[in-house]
Amino acid sequence: MGDLDKKVIGNLNDPRLPYDYNKRPYGTVSMDTTRPPFQWASEVAYKNAYRIVARGYDTTHLVELGYGLVDILFIDFQSRIPLIEEEKMLNYVMILSLEDGLSMPAVLSRIVARSKTFLTQACGTSILAFGHAYGAFSAFGNMLIEGLAKVEEYGKTMDAVALELVKDKLGDPALGVSDLMLKDPAAKKMFIRAEELGVAGQYIAFTKEVVKAAQQQSDHAVDLDMLGAIGATMMDLGFSPEATWAIIAITRSFGAGAHYIEEVEREDYTSLGQELTPKELYDGPEDRPVPPLEDRDKIAKPAQTFTPDEWKEAFEERKKLHGSGYAIIEEVKDPSEKT
């Protein structure tokens, strides 16, 4: 590679570079022997050729002794065997989470099915429906944790904190209170069952206060919804907001699998280019001629702006074009405890 070092390639000889690019070495990095080699570190489980062990329990022993997946969820996520009442409650929650008609996970699963894929692709895709609006269990649970921390730290009452929270979040899809279940008693029945089983705790109590506060503040009828019921119950069962998010999304994926199968059984596959989008649905720029390529530089408007005022004006203009992304401002968080 000696000749290469003498060549001028693009801007790579520019003295403003903080290094001499041409002197940077090729070749892979030697094995790092100063630290122990990489291993799949896990607190959750290990296996050898003979056994699979989760949080210290041999999983074949678990199933032979009558424990099932619902119990093992407590083992994997909480490192403990659940009380019988807790196992019953999680069963209850999972039944209610299994199927929800033609909701988003089912729709995504069906759309993937139309492309003639493996079932597992459809099941995986259905899980992607769970974000921070639909099935916002992470956002909901962390909201409860923050609310209860205020009760603890500042000696406030639950109802006072609930009222503050509702003032800030009324209408937020992660509140757990909405107008979605005014006629369906299933969410409220879940709390009643949790209380009967003796597994209701501070999260259900706090969520009830949030419901009361929302009912006082809202200008229309609202009540506990399924997100709030499941989220608070799972937290009282000891699951973290993130574990809840995962468990419920995966549980629904079984239902999405059935939707994949039904779509394949009852509908056709879709070919590339098959679907049309009628012009009635289009509200973008009017049809216009493509200019000759040689006229490009005469016609094209540069994107660069050079002052904050110019930038702001251009930004506002760009927001008007749906699909450009300028109208969306979102926070991409790092949930790591160390990065």
């Binding site: 990095v29 489980a45 069963n91 209610l96 199927e99 909701s103 993130e242």
Partner: protein, 298 residues
Amino acid sequence: MSREPMIKRKTAIGYKTEEKTVMRGYDLSDLAEKGYSFYDAMFILYQGSIPTSAEEEMLKYEMGEFMEHSMSPSAASAIAVIAGRPNLPTAIAASIMTFGGVHGPGAAHGYMMNKYIERAQKEGKSPEEMGKILVDEYMDAGEPVMGMGQPQHRDGDPRAEPTHLKQEELKIDGVYLKLQRSIEKHFHARREREGKSFVGVNVVGAGNTALMDIGFSPNAAWCIGSVSRGYSCAAHALYNMKRGRAWAASRNEPMVQMLDLSLIKYVGPEDREVPTQEERQEYARKQKESGEYKKWVI
């Protein structure tokens, strides 16, 4: 807020109104209130009917044993994806999507079983006879017999044989287990005759057989196996998200990390100069003519 479904479909699985959510005719809330288990609900979802107690017990056993398998392609995928700290569901989706033609191929095993049982029915043969035919046909063709062998559990998958025994204990050993037992018997005998090492039944061979004997279709059984695994993969992803360092390459961690540069072993073409645009056409022509590149094409 619109509550119209995003797509319109006739569906025999379920419906949802403002008053209730119904699956295969049963109000989900009533099912939970009356003490049915999640495993019962799985039968209703996929088979439209409430199972016997023994069938429910078998599914509970199966889903329990499928769930956790420590480091398999599915868990490794979940851990790799979460290294970039996307939303958690992304890592779980990736883990479930690893289930394909090799990792947990439940549907493929099921289709194989159905094909040979149908042949047994048409040809008037017993499952025992058909097991030998299946093994001979697969092994004569040099193809692996599905449901046999596990790369990590070299002398027998800890989940597999106990699953067969549980099925027999619960007296739900139907035609699928008869065929599977025959496959294993003839598979072991032939390998022994050929001087080959022991290869045990794996969890697909055992678990999928049980799932089919309790009435699940190949795809339903595949869904049960692979989605059950999703739960443990979520735990592995969450552990790495909460206790591990993002990007999986930090040099400040005591142990070399999964994506440490020193773990890259490159076995491709030697380092070489990039031709200038003036040199490019001639260079490319010679390169194409030499054909040397073909050994690298994947």
